[in-house]
Protein backbone atom coordinates (compact mmCIF):
# COMPACT_ATOMS: atom_id res chain seq x y z
CA UNK A 1 0.00 0.00 0.00
CA UNK A 2 1.24 3.51 -0.79
CA UNK A 3 0.82 5.94 2.10
CA UNK A 4 1.09 9.59 1.02
CA UNK A 5 2.24 12.17 3.58
CA UNK A 6 2.14 15.87 2.83
CA UNK A 7 2.53 18.46 1.42
CA UNK A 8 0.72 19.90 4.45
CA UNK A 9 0.82 17.45 7.30
CA UNK A 10 1.05 17.72 11.11
CA UNK A 11 4.53 16.16 11.14
CA UNK A 12 6.02 18.33 8.38
CA UNK A 13 7.15 21.91 8.83
CA UNK A 14 7.67 22.55 5.14
CA UNK A 15 5.82 21.38 2.06
CA UNK A 16 7.03 18.07 0.69
CA UNK A 17 5.34 14.87 -0.39
CA UNK A 18 6.53 11.56 1.07
CA UNK A 19 5.13 8.42 -0.54
CA UNK A 20 5.79 5.52 1.78
CA UNK A 21 5.37 1.99 0.41
CA UNK A 22 4.10 0.02 3.37
CA UNK A 23 3.26 -3.56 4.20
CA UNK A 24 1.10 -3.54 7.29
CA UNK A 25 2.84 -1.08 9.58
CA UNK A 26 6.30 -1.72 8.10
CA UNK A 27 7.82 0.79 5.70
CA UNK A 28 9.47 -0.92 2.73
CA UNK A 29 10.64 2.03 0.67
CA UNK A 30 9.94 5.69 0.11
CA UNK A 31 9.68 8.17 -2.68
CA UNK A 32 9.95 11.94 -2.30
CA UNK A 33 8.32 14.64 -4.42
CA UNK A 34 9.89 18.08 -4.43
CA UNK A 35 9.00 21.27 -6.18
CA UNK A 36 6.61 23.04 -3.84
CA UNK A 37 9.01 25.86 -2.96
CA UNK A 38 10.80 26.38 -6.27
CA UNK A 39 11.19 30.12 -6.74
CA UNK A 40 13.89 30.35 -9.43
CA UNK A 41 16.54 32.12 -7.34
CA UNK A 42 19.49 31.26 -9.62
CA UNK A 43 17.64 32.60 -12.61
CA UNK A 44 16.74 35.87 -10.88
CA UNK A 45 20.37 36.35 -9.82
CA UNK A 46 21.70 36.21 -13.37
CA UNK A 47 22.50 39.63 -14.77
CA UNK A 48 22.49 41.34 -11.38
CA UNK A 49 25.29 42.89 -9.37
CA UNK A 50 26.61 41.15 -6.27
CA UNK A 51 24.94 43.74 -4.06
CA UNK A 52 21.58 42.44 -5.26
CA UNK A 53 22.72 38.82 -5.45
CA UNK A 54 23.83 38.63 -1.83
CA UNK A 55 20.38 39.77 -0.76
CA UNK A 56 18.83 36.92 -2.72
CA UNK A 57 21.34 34.32 -1.59
CA UNK A 58 20.35 35.00 2.00
CA UNK A 59 16.82 33.95 1.13
CA UNK A 60 17.78 30.57 -0.28
CA UNK A 61 17.12 29.19 3.17
CA UNK A 62 15.86 30.84 6.32
CA UNK A 63 17.39 28.54 8.91
CA UNK A 64 20.98 28.58 7.61
CA UNK A 65 20.66 32.01 5.98
CA UNK A 66 24.00 33.19 7.34
CA UNK A 67 26.30 30.68 5.64
CA UNK A 68 24.82 31.41 2.20
CA UNK A 69 25.92 35.04 2.32
CA UNK A 70 29.34 34.10 3.65
CA UNK A 71 29.89 31.57 0.86
CA UNK A 72 28.61 34.05 -1.72
CA UNK A 73 31.00 36.74 -0.45
CA UNK A 74 33.95 34.35 -0.23
CA UNK A 75 33.33 33.14 -3.78
CA UNK A 76 33.75 36.70 -5.05
CA UNK A 77 36.77 37.23 -2.80
CA UNK A 78 38.36 34.07 -4.22
CA UNK A 79 37.73 35.30 -7.79
CA UNK A 80 39.56 38.51 -6.85
CA UNK A 81 42.29 36.45 -5.11
CA UNK A 82 41.91 38.34 -1.84
CA UNK A 83 40.69 37.68 1.66
CA UNK A 84 38.66 39.74 4.09
CA UNK A 85 40.55 41.47 6.94
CA UNK A 86 41.32 39.19 9.89
CA UNK A 87 38.86 40.91 12.22
CA UNK A 88 36.09 40.39 9.66
CA UNK A 89 37.06 36.72 9.32
CA UNK A 90 36.80 36.29 13.08
CA UNK A 91 33.41 38.00 13.17
CA UNK A 92 32.23 35.73 10.36
CA UNK A 93 33.25 32.69 12.41
CA UNK A 94 31.43 34.10 15.44
CA UNK A 95 28.16 34.61 13.55
CA UNK A 96 28.51 31.31 11.73
CA UNK A 97 28.88 29.35 14.97
CA UNK A 98 25.96 31.19 16.62
CA UNK A 99 23.86 30.31 13.59
CA UNK A 100 25.02 26.69 13.78
CA UNK A 101 24.00 26.44 17.44
CA UNK A 102 20.48 27.75 16.80
CA UNK A 103 20.05 25.57 13.71
CA UNK A 104 21.17 22.40 15.51
CA UNK A 105 18.93 23.15 18.49
CA UNK A 106 15.99 23.66 16.14
CA UNK A 107 16.79 20.44 14.26
CA UNK A 108 16.94 18.42 17.46
CA UNK A 109 13.75 20.01 18.76
CA UNK A 110 11.99 18.97 15.53
CA UNK A 111 13.20 15.42 16.07
CA UNK A 112 11.94 15.36 19.66
CA UNK A 113 8.59 16.63 18.44
CA UNK A 114 8.53 13.81 15.88
CA UNK A 115 9.13 11.17 18.56
CA UNK A 116 6.44 12.86 20.70
CA UNK A 117 8.82 13.87 23.49
CA UNK A 118 7.26 17.25 24.14
CA UNK A 119 9.40 18.03 27.21
CA UNK A 120 12.72 17.92 25.38
CA UNK A 121 11.15 19.79 22.46
CA UNK A 122 10.29 22.66 24.80
CA UNK A 123 13.71 22.57 26.48
CA UNK A 124 15.47 22.83 23.11
CA UNK A 125 13.41 25.89 22.17
CA UNK A 126 14.07 27.32 25.62
CA UNK A 127 17.82 27.00 25.01
CA UNK A 128 17.51 28.42 21.53
CA UNK A 129 15.93 31.78 22.38
CA UNK A 130 19.00 33.28 24.16
CA UNK A 131 21.13 32.28 21.15
CA UNK A 132 18.68 34.14 18.89
CA UNK A 133 19.09 37.11 21.24
CA UNK A 134 22.86 36.92 20.78
CA UNK A 135 22.44 36.89 16.99
CA UNK A 136 20.09 39.87 17.18
CA UNK A 137 22.49 41.75 19.43
CA UNK A 138 25.36 41.17 17.03
CA UNK A 139 23.68 41.66 13.65
CA UNK A 140 20.41 43.45 14.31
CA UNK A 141 18.04 40.78 13.08
CA UNK A 142 16.97 37.35 14.20
CA UNK A 143 16.83 35.40 10.96
CA UNK A 144 17.94 37.18 7.80
CA UNK A 145 20.93 39.04 9.13
CA UNK A 146 22.46 40.87 6.15
CA UNK A 147 25.80 40.60 7.91
CA UNK A 148 28.21 39.85 5.06
CA UNK A 149 29.45 41.93 2.17
CA UNK A 150 32.15 41.13 -0.36
CA UNK A 151 35.33 42.16 1.43
CA UNK A 152 34.23 41.89 5.03
CA UNK A 153 31.29 42.38 7.31
CA UNK A 154 28.83 45.24 7.54
CA UNK A 155 29.15 46.37 11.14
CA UNK A 156 31.74 46.41 13.90
CA UNK A 157 31.09 45.02 17.36
CA UNK A 158 31.49 46.65 20.75
CA UNK A 159 33.11 45.07 23.77
CA UNK A 160 29.78 45.20 25.63
CA UNK A 161 28.22 43.02 22.89
CA UNK A 162 31.03 40.54 23.27
CA UNK A 163 30.55 40.39 27.04
CA UNK A 164 26.83 39.77 26.63
CA UNK A 165 27.41 37.01 24.08
CA UNK A 166 30.01 35.43 26.37
CA UNK A 167 27.51 35.50 29.22
CA UNK A 168 24.84 33.85 27.05
CA UNK A 169 27.33 31.15 25.98
CA UNK A 170 28.39 30.40 29.58
CA UNK A 171 24.75 30.08 30.63
CA UNK A 172 23.98 27.83 27.66
CA UNK A 173 26.97 25.65 28.47
CA UNK A 174 25.98 25.23 32.10
CA UNK A 175 22.37 24.26 31.27
CA UNK A 176 23.07 22.29 28.14
CA UNK A 177 24.54 19.13 29.66
CA UNK A 178 21.46 18.32 31.67
CA UNK A 179 19.28 18.12 28.56
CA UNK A 180 21.86 16.17 26.60
CA UNK A 181 21.93 13.66 29.43
CA UNK A 182 18.13 13.43 29.31
CA UNK A 183 18.43 12.37 25.71
CA UNK A 184 21.57 10.23 26.01
CA UNK A 185 20.56 8.21 29.05
CA UNK A 186 16.76 8.48 29.00
CA UNK A 187 15.32 4.98 28.49
CA UNK A 188 12.24 6.10 26.57
CA UNK A 189 14.09 8.29 24.14
CA UNK A 190 16.71 5.60 23.65
CA UNK A 191 14.09 3.01 22.67
CA UNK A 192 12.71 5.29 19.98
CA UNK A 193 16.13 6.30 18.62
CA UNK A 194 18.67 3.47 18.87
CA UNK A 195 18.99 1.25 15.78
CA UNK A 196 16.25 3.08 13.91
CA UNK A 197 16.93 4.41 10.42
CA UNK A 198 20.43 2.97 10.14
CA UNK A 199 22.79 3.99 7.37
CA UNK A 200 26.23 2.40 7.05
CA UNK A 201 29.38 4.23 6.02
CA UNK A 202 29.37 2.71 2.51
CA UNK A 203 25.77 3.73 1.98
CA UNK A 204 26.54 7.23 3.20
CA UNK A 205 29.34 7.49 0.62
CA UNK A 206 27.06 6.15 -2.13
CA UNK A 207 24.30 8.60 -1.22
CA UNK A 208 26.85 11.45 -0.85
CA UNK A 209 25.54 12.24 2.62
CA UNK A 210 27.16 15.34 4.11
CA UNK A 211 27.21 17.24 7.36
CA UNK A 212 26.09 15.72 10.67
CA UNK A 213 24.18 13.01 8.77
CA UNK A 214 27.31 11.77 7.03
CA UNK A 215 29.46 12.25 10.11
CA UNK A 216 27.04 10.20 12.23
CA UNK A 217 27.58 7.32 9.78
CA UNK A 218 31.35 7.46 10.08
CA UNK A 219 32.35 9.93 7.36
CA UNK A 220 35.12 11.95 8.94
CA UNK A 221 34.57 15.05 6.87
CA UNK A 222 34.04 18.65 7.92
CA UNK A 223 34.77 21.47 5.51
CA UNK A 224 35.60 23.84 8.35
CA UNK A 225 38.91 21.93 8.60
CA UNK A 226 39.92 23.30 5.19
CA UNK A 227 38.66 26.84 5.71
CA UNK A 228 41.54 29.28 6.12
CA UNK A 229 40.28 31.02 9.27
CA UNK A 230 39.62 27.79 11.15
CA UNK A 231 42.81 26.14 9.89
CA UNK A 232 45.18 29.01 10.71
CA UNK A 233 43.75 30.54 13.86
CA UNK A 234 41.28 28.29 15.64
CA UNK A 235 41.27 24.92 17.30
CA UNK A 236 38.80 22.56 15.65
CA UNK A 237 38.41 18.81 15.78
CA UNK A 238 36.03 16.90 13.53
CA UNK A 239 33.25 15.21 15.50
CA UNK A 240 31.97 11.95 14.11
CA UNK A 241 30.28 8.77 15.26
CA UNK A 242 30.02 5.21 14.02
CA UNK A 243 26.45 4.09 14.69
CA UNK A 244 24.58 5.81 11.86
CA UNK A 245 21.14 5.69 13.50
CA UNK A 246 18.74 8.41 14.66
CA UNK A 247 20.45 8.56 18.06
CA UNK A 248 23.88 9.12 16.49
CA UNK A 249 22.64 11.91 14.24
CA UNK A 250 21.14 13.82 17.15
CA UNK A 251 24.10 13.21 19.46
CA UNK A 252 26.44 14.37 16.71
CA UNK A 253 24.55 17.65 16.54
CA UNK A 254 24.65 18.00 20.33
CA UNK A 255 28.43 17.46 20.35
CA UNK A 256 28.87 20.02 17.59
CA UNK A 257 27.00 22.59 19.68
CA UNK A 258 29.54 22.09 22.48
CA UNK A 259 32.32 22.58 19.97
CA UNK A 260 30.69 25.71 18.55
CA UNK A 261 30.52 27.19 22.06
CA UNK A 262 34.27 26.56 22.42
CA UNK A 263 34.95 28.21 19.06
CA UNK A 264 32.91 31.27 20.05
CA UNK A 265 34.91 31.55 23.28
CA UNK A 266 38.17 31.37 21.31
CA UNK A 267 36.95 34.07 18.92
CA UNK A 268 35.85 36.42 21.71
CA UNK A 269 39.15 35.96 23.56
CA UNK A 270 41.51 36.61 20.64
CA UNK A 271 39.45 38.94 18.44
CA UNK A 272 42.12 41.02 16.63
CA UNK A 273 41.91 44.78 16.14
CA UNK A 274 41.73 46.28 12.67
CA UNK A 275 39.44 46.98 9.73
CA UNK A 276 36.21 45.09 9.25
CA UNK A 277 35.92 45.70 5.54
CA UNK A 278 38.15 46.45 2.60
CA UNK A 279 37.52 47.43 -0.97
CA UNK A 280 37.88 44.58 -3.41
CA UNK A 281 37.95 45.03 -7.17
CA UNK A 282 36.32 42.03 -8.75
CA UNK A 283 37.81 41.00 -12.09
CA UNK A 284 35.99 39.01 -14.74
CA UNK A 285 36.33 35.36 -13.95
CA UNK A 286 35.02 32.10 -12.67
CA UNK A 287 35.27 30.71 -9.18
CA UNK A 288 33.76 28.39 -6.66
CA UNK A 289 33.81 28.12 -2.90
CA UNK A 290 32.64 25.54 -0.42
CA UNK A 291 31.67 26.01 3.20
CA UNK A 292 30.24 23.93 5.99
CA UNK A 293 26.63 24.91 6.61
CA UNK A 294 24.84 23.52 9.70
CA UNK A 295 23.48 20.76 7.46
CA UNK A 296 26.64 20.03 5.49
CA UNK A 297 28.48 21.27 2.50
CA UNK A 298 27.22 24.25 0.51
CA UNK A 299 28.86 25.11 -2.82
CA UNK A 300 28.59 28.29 -4.84
CA UNK A 301 29.87 28.39 -8.42
CA UNK A 302 29.89 31.86 -9.92
CA UNK A 303 30.86 33.27 -13.29
CA UNK A 304 31.13 37.06 -13.40
CA UNK A 305 32.15 39.71 -15.91
CA UNK A 306 33.52 41.92 -13.15
CA UNK A 307 30.29 43.73 -12.52
CA UNK A 308 27.34 41.43 -13.14
CA UNK A 309 26.76 37.80 -12.28
CA UNK A 310 26.78 35.92 -15.57
CA UNK A 311 26.05 32.49 -14.20
CA UNK A 312 25.54 31.05 -10.75
CA UNK A 313 24.95 27.58 -9.38
CA UNK A 314 24.10 26.84 -5.75
CA UNK A 315 24.41 23.36 -4.29
CA UNK A 316 22.96 22.89 -0.84
CA UNK A 317 23.41 19.92 1.52
CA UNK A 318 19.78 19.03 2.16
CA UNK A 319 19.18 17.49 -1.25
CA UNK A 320 21.82 14.78 -0.67
CA UNK A 321 20.69 14.14 2.89
CA UNK A 322 17.01 13.82 2.01
CA UNK A 323 17.85 11.44 -0.81
CA UNK A 324 20.06 9.40 1.53
CA UNK A 325 17.12 9.25 3.90
CA UNK A 326 14.69 8.11 1.20
CA UNK A 327 17.00 5.53 -0.29
CA UNK A 328 18.89 3.99 2.61
CA UNK A 329 17.26 4.88 5.92
CA UNK A 330 13.70 3.87 5.08
CA UNK A 331 14.57 0.28 4.23
CA UNK A 332 14.15 -1.39 7.59
CA UNK A 333 11.91 0.98 9.52
CA UNK A 334 9.41 -0.89 11.68
CA UNK A 335 6.57 1.64 11.84
CA UNK A 336 5.32 4.70 10.00
CA UNK A 337 5.86 6.92 13.06
CA UNK A 338 9.50 5.76 13.14
CA UNK A 339 9.75 6.67 9.46
CA UNK A 340 8.54 10.19 10.24
CA UNK A 341 11.06 10.41 13.11
CA UNK A 342 13.84 9.22 10.80
CA UNK A 343 12.86 11.84 8.26
CA UNK A 344 13.01 14.52 10.98
CA UNK A 345 16.42 13.28 12.14
CA UNK A 346 18.11 14.17 8.83
CA UNK A 347 17.22 17.81 9.44
CA UNK A 348 15.49 18.39 6.10
CA UNK A 349 15.30 21.92 4.78
CA UNK A 350 13.09 22.04 1.73
CA UNK A 351 13.58 25.71 0.84
CA UNK A 352 17.29 24.94 0.29
CA UNK A 353 16.74 22.09 -2.09
CA UNK A 354 14.52 23.58 -4.71
CA UNK A 355 16.60 24.13 -7.80
CA UNK A 356 16.14 22.68 -11.25
CA UNK A 357 18.63 21.63 -13.90
CA UNK A 358 17.46 19.50 -16.79
CA UNK A 359 20.17 17.30 -18.29
CA UNK A 360 19.57 15.95 -21.77
CA UNK A 361 20.53 12.37 -22.48
CA UNK A 362 23.12 13.75 -24.88
CA UNK A 363 24.77 15.38 -21.88
CA UNK A 364 23.74 18.89 -22.86
CA UNK A 365 22.45 21.11 -20.06
CA UNK A 366 19.59 23.41 -20.87
CA UNK A 367 17.60 25.83 -18.85
CA UNK A 368 14.17 25.34 -17.42
CA UNK A 369 11.54 26.79 -19.72
CA UNK A 370 9.31 28.78 -17.38
CA UNK A 371 6.39 29.77 -19.62
CA UNK A 372 5.97 26.10 -20.58
CA UNK A 373 6.35 24.80 -17.05
CA UNK A 374 5.09 21.21 -17.04
CA UNK A 375 1.96 20.70 -14.98
CA UNK A 376 2.71 18.39 -12.06
Amino acid sequence: MILPIGPIHPSLKEPLRLKLKTQGEKVLSAEIDYGYVHRGIERIMKGKTWQKGIYLSERVCGICSYIHTQTFAETFESIAGERAPLRAQYLRVLTNELDRIQSHLLANSTYFKAIEHETLFMYMLYLREPVMDAIELLTGNRVNMGWNVVGGVRMDVKQTHMDSIMKIMLKLESEFERYVEMFEKGPLVGLRSHDVGKMTRDEAIKARAVGPIGRASGLEHDLRENHHTYKDHLDLKVIWRKEGDNFARNMNRFDEITQSINLIKQVIEDLPEGDIRKKIDIPAGYGDWRNEAPRGEVTYTVETNGNLIKNISIRTPSIMNIDACAKYMFNDVATVSDAVATYASVDPCIACTERVVIVDESGKTREFDYPNYPKI
Binding site: V37, I41, R59, G62, I63, R128, E129, R142, A351, I376
Partner: protein, 149 residues
Amino acid sequence: MLDALKDVIRKSSIHVCLINTGGCNGCDIEVVALLSPRYDLEQYGIYVHNNPREADVILVAGAVTEQWREKLQRIYAKVPEPKIVVAIGNCPLSGDVFNQEGSSVYAPVSDYIPVDAEVSGCPPRPSEILAAILSIGPNAIAARGRQKL
Protein backbone atom coordinates in the same frame (compact mmCIF):
# COMPACT_ATOMS: atom_id res chain seq x y z
CA MET B 1 -27.63 30.98 24.61
CA LEU B 2 -26.05 28.36 22.35
CA ASP B 3 -24.40 31.09 20.29
CA ALA B 4 -22.88 32.65 23.39
CA LEU B 5 -21.51 29.28 24.47
CA LYS B 6 -20.06 28.65 21.03
CA ASP B 7 -18.46 32.10 21.10
CA VAL B 8 -16.62 31.27 24.31
CA ILE B 9 -15.35 27.98 22.95
CA ARG B 10 -14.34 29.42 19.58
CA LYS B 11 -12.46 32.25 21.24
CA SER B 12 -10.56 30.07 23.68
CA SER B 13 -9.38 27.30 21.36
CA ILE B 14 -7.83 28.42 18.10
CA HIS B 15 -6.10 25.85 15.91
CA VAL B 16 -3.48 27.08 13.50
CA CYS B 17 -2.29 25.57 10.23
CA LEU B 18 0.91 26.91 8.67
CA ILE B 19 1.19 26.76 4.89
CA ASN B 20 4.52 27.62 3.30
CA THR B 21 3.65 28.48 -0.28
CA GLY B 22 7.23 29.06 -1.37
CA GLY B 23 9.29 31.24 0.92
CA CYS B 24 12.69 30.87 2.52
CA ASN B 25 11.17 29.20 5.64
CA GLY B 26 12.43 32.08 7.78
CA CYS B 27 8.81 32.82 8.73
CA ASP B 28 8.23 29.12 9.48
CA ILE B 29 10.96 29.03 12.10
CA GLU B 30 9.62 32.21 13.68
CA VAL B 31 6.28 30.43 14.04
CA VAL B 32 8.13 27.49 15.64
CA ALA B 33 9.83 29.99 17.96
CA LEU B 34 6.34 31.05 19.07
CA LEU B 35 5.93 27.62 20.66
CA SER B 36 8.96 28.20 22.86
CA PRO B 37 8.52 28.90 26.58
CA ARG B 38 9.38 32.56 26.06
CA TYR B 39 6.40 33.37 23.82
CA ASP B 40 4.26 30.38 24.84
CA LEU B 41 1.52 30.45 22.22
CA GLU B 42 -0.58 27.89 24.04
CA GLN B 43 -1.32 30.15 27.01
CA TYR B 44 -3.66 32.08 24.69
CA GLY B 45 -5.40 28.88 23.63
CA ILE B 46 -3.69 28.80 20.25
CA TYR B 47 -2.41 25.43 19.03
CA VAL B 48 -0.19 24.85 16.00
CA HIS B 49 -1.34 21.56 14.48
CA ASN B 50 -0.58 21.98 10.79
CA ASN B 51 -3.73 20.10 9.95
CA PRO B 52 -6.02 21.98 7.53
CA ARG B 53 -9.06 19.89 8.42
CA GLU B 54 -9.18 21.12 12.00
CA ALA B 55 -7.75 24.61 11.55
CA ASP B 56 -9.41 27.92 12.40
CA VAL B 57 -6.54 30.18 11.41
CA ILE B 58 -4.42 29.62 8.29
CA LEU B 59 -1.00 31.25 8.35
CA VAL B 60 0.28 31.70 4.81
CA ALA B 61 4.02 32.30 4.49
CA GLY B 62 5.63 32.57 1.11
CA ALA B 63 5.13 33.85 -2.39
CA VAL B 64 2.87 31.50 -4.34
CA THR B 65 4.87 29.12 -6.53
CA GLU B 66 3.56 27.32 -9.61
CA GLN B 67 2.62 24.15 -7.69
CA TRP B 68 0.66 26.07 -5.09
CA ARG B 69 -1.59 28.08 -7.39
CA GLU B 70 -4.31 25.44 -7.50
CA LYS B 71 -3.44 23.55 -4.35
CA LEU B 72 -3.76 26.60 -2.13
CA GLN B 73 -7.40 27.02 -3.10
CA ARG B 74 -8.02 23.31 -2.60
CA ILE B 75 -6.52 23.39 0.88
CA TYR B 76 -8.49 26.54 1.71
CA ALA B 77 -11.70 24.76 0.71
CA LYS B 78 -10.90 21.90 3.06
CA VAL B 79 -10.62 24.15 6.12
CA PRO B 80 -13.95 24.16 7.99
CA GLU B 81 -15.89 27.41 8.59
CA PRO B 82 -15.42 29.80 10.38
CA LYS B 83 -11.86 30.47 9.23
CA ILE B 84 -9.48 33.38 8.88
CA VAL B 85 -6.28 33.80 6.89
CA VAL B 86 -3.21 35.66 8.15
CA ALA B 87 -0.41 36.37 5.66
CA ILE B 88 3.01 36.39 7.35
CA GLY B 89 6.00 38.22 5.94
CA ASN B 90 6.60 40.22 2.81
CA CYS B 91 6.37 37.23 0.44
CA PRO B 92 2.59 36.71 0.53
CA LEU B 93 2.03 40.47 0.31
CA SER B 94 4.24 41.32 -2.64
CA GLY B 95 6.58 38.42 -3.43
CA ASP B 96 9.47 40.21 -1.72
CA VAL B 97 12.83 39.66 -3.51
CA PHE B 98 11.50 36.71 -5.45
CA ASN B 99 9.01 38.78 -7.43
CA GLN B 100 11.42 39.80 -10.16
CA GLU B 101 11.72 39.17 -13.86
CA GLY B 102 12.33 35.49 -14.58
CA SER B 103 11.13 34.11 -11.30
CA SER B 104 8.41 31.51 -10.90
CA VAL B 105 6.37 33.10 -8.12
CA TYR B 106 2.86 34.47 -8.48
CA ALA B 107 2.34 36.82 -5.55
CA PRO B 108 0.28 38.22 -3.89
CA VAL B 109 -1.55 35.46 -2.10
CA SER B 110 -4.77 37.55 -1.95
CA ASP B 111 -5.29 36.74 -5.66
CA TYR B 112 -6.07 33.17 -4.68
CA ILE B 113 -7.69 33.22 -1.25
CA PRO B 114 -9.19 36.05 0.86
CA VAL B 115 -6.66 37.43 3.37
CA ASP B 116 -7.87 38.93 6.66
CA ALA B 117 -4.65 40.19 8.23
CA GLU B 118 -1.18 40.94 6.93
CA VAL B 119 2.07 41.07 8.88
CA SER B 120 4.96 42.60 6.99
CA GLY B 121 8.62 41.97 7.71
CA CYS B 122 11.30 39.66 6.42
CA PRO B 123 10.67 37.78 8.64
CA PRO B 124 8.38 39.49 11.20
CA ARG B 125 9.29 39.00 14.85
CA PRO B 126 7.43 36.24 16.71
CA SER B 127 5.72 38.80 18.92
CA GLU B 128 4.33 40.58 15.84
CA ILE B 129 2.91 37.33 14.46
CA LEU B 130 1.36 36.59 17.84
CA ALA B 131 -0.12 40.09 18.06
CA ALA B 132 -1.64 39.72 14.59
CA ILE B 133 -3.26 36.38 15.38
CA LEU B 134 -4.60 37.64 18.71
CA SER B 135 -5.87 40.96 17.41
CA ILE B 136 -8.01 39.45 14.66
CA GLY B 137 -8.37 35.78 15.58
CA PRO B 138 -10.82 35.29 18.46
CA ASN B 139 -13.32 38.05 17.64
CA ALA B 140 -13.41 37.45 13.89
CA ILE B 141 -13.87 33.71 14.34
CA ALA B 142 -16.71 34.23 16.80
CA ALA B 143 -18.40 36.82 14.56
CA ARG B 144 -18.13 34.62 11.48
CA GLY B 145 -19.42 31.61 13.36
CA ARG B 146 -22.63 33.55 14.08
CA GLN B 147 -22.97 34.71 10.46
CA LYS B 148 -22.98 31.17 9.12
CA LEU B 149 -25.55 30.03 11.63
